[in-house]
């Protein structure tokens, strides 16, 4: 499980772990039923306090992303559960919020943004077919 922690930008470390695990699950790099590394191992790998990793795992469990089986470790929950899908939508919602805030700053109307999304999606679907280098 490849996670990168930076202690420089101020974001609490447990939150960085939670966010990255969420992203890995949502993008499919962590399959449902796959085991997360034990707290101690992950703490040594990332060079962070085991309590921080424990807190991150607790938060993930509360969010429904992982389940802790007693003495058997922590496993990713099934993808079909509505909570997992809710997580994925939530990640995208955050990205949309950021996009909209920037659009407002750059003084671009919402309709233009939606039109832009549709254009880029078409390009992405046509691109490889037309032989263009993406």
């Amino acid at each position: 499980m490849q996670i990168h922690i930076s202690a420089n930008d101020g974001v609490p470390i447990y939150l960085q772990i939670v966010n990255q695990v969420k992203y890995l699950v949502a993008s499919g790099r962590l399959a449902p039923g796959e085991e997360l590394p034990p707290i101690r191992v992950l703490a040594e790998q990332l060079l962070v306090n085991p309590n921080t990793v424990a807190r991150a795992y607790r938060e993930l469990e509360t969010a429904g992303l992982v389940t802790k089986r007693r003495t058997a470790g922590t496993y990713v929950s099934d993808a079909g559960s509505p909570l997992a899908r809710r997580q994925r939508v939530k990640i995208l919602t955050e990205r949309v919020d950021a996009l909209l805030a920037e659009a407002r700053q750059l003084d671009v109307a919402v309709d233009e943004v939606v039109e832009l999304i549709r254009q880029q999606d078409e390009k992405m679907q046509l691109g490889p077919k037309a032989g263009e280098t993406p």
């Binding site: 101020g10 962070v48 309590n51």
Partner: protein, 308 residues
């Protein structure tokens, strides 16, 4: 993992009202500190703030002029053997005897600690790639730090005391030291007390952080509490301001004209209200890193430059 909310925290190191003067300078001014068992306690401060003096009090190398020092309930000055046999100490100075070989160092230390683990010592020696036959004076600075760490860890001490362990060392040795800290804390009931001014490392591994400035403790709390109570706010005014805004809890403003940024201490709602009162909008809000909190809390406030 240690669930600190269920067990009553037992205090391993307890300083109460300790003051220390060296001639006219006051190195520690009425310092009180408690290190709970099973935690990593980070002590941060600028050079000369009093971190090493505090740690020397814990080891019994300095007598408390006022107040009391208790380690595992014992006074390190009155009972040096009882206290020191439970402590593994790594100092920043070139402290190991130059003439000793690495195997002689381990051989010598083994006799003092009943909890010495030979196999663990050999495993650590191989991990650190220390040549048994080499004398300490022939080792590089990083290898010397590893040798000192090996001597401190091999008897699985109940508290690991590190005095600026990473200063001047390359990143690989620093990783070894951090790994040692994390492995120590992973063992039930063992504690780590370390002082550092590399705040990134302190933020990674500490449970508790105490900031010491000019001999006084200015901040002492759980790391998560500290991160919750400091906010880096960017305020935007409608009209350009010539002076920094006054918001209670703000520690040093940076910026000019309409946008001002500062690290602020307090609850977010109160700060938002205060900002509104000052006539500004909050356009940016994030959690500051420990480095930024430290610089804001302890550093000197530089006057805003008027180059722009």
């Amino acid at each position: 993992m240690n669930d600190l909310d269920t067990k009553p925290p037992e205090t391993v190191v307890d300083l109460r009202g300790v003051t220390r003067r060296f001639g006219p300078t006051t190195a520690l001014d009425d310092v009180s500190l408690s290190v709970p068992r099973g935690t990593v306690f980070g002590l941060v401060g600028v050079n000369g703030a009093g971190k090493t003096t505090l740690i020397k009090h814990v080891l019994g190398l300095l007598r408390a002029q006022t107040g009391s020092v208790r380690v595992f309930g014992l006074d390190p000055v009155a009972d040096p053997v009882g206290v020191l046999s439970k402590i593994g100490y790594l100092s920043e100075d070139k402290d190991l005897p130059d003439w000793m070989r690495v195997d002689e160092l381990l051989h010598y230390n083994r006799a003092f600690y009943p909890s010495w683990d030979d196999r663990y010592a050999e495993q650590l020696r191989r991990t650190f790639e220390l040549d048994s036959a080499k004398q300490i004076k022939q080792l590089s600075r990083g290898q010397r730090a590893r040798a000192g760490l090996l001597a401190a860890l091999a008897h699985r001490p109940e508290i690991l005391v590190l005095d600026e362990p990473s200063s001047g060392l390359d990143p690989i040795v620093r990783r070894d030291i951090l790994t040692a800290i994390i492995r120590t804390i992973s063992d039930e009931g063992r504690t780590v007390l370390f002082s550092s001014h590399l705040l990134e490392e302190v933020e990674r591994v500490s449970d508790y952080v105490a900031m010491i400035d000019e001999g006084r403790i200015v901040l002492c709390d759980r790391l998560e509490q500290i991160k919750d109570s400091f906010h880096c706010l960017t305020l935007r005014f409608d009209a350009p301001q010539s002076d920094p805004p006054t918001v209670p809890g703000a520690l040093g403003w940076k910026g000019a004209d309409q946008e001002w940024t500062a690290v602020c201490n307090g609850r977010l709602e109160e700060l938002q209200a205060a900002a509104a009162e000052a006539g500004a909008r909050i356009v940016g809000q994030r959690v500051p890193s420990l480095d930024e909190i430290f610089v804001a809390r302890v550093g000197r406030t530089c006057p805003a430059s008027d180059e722009e």
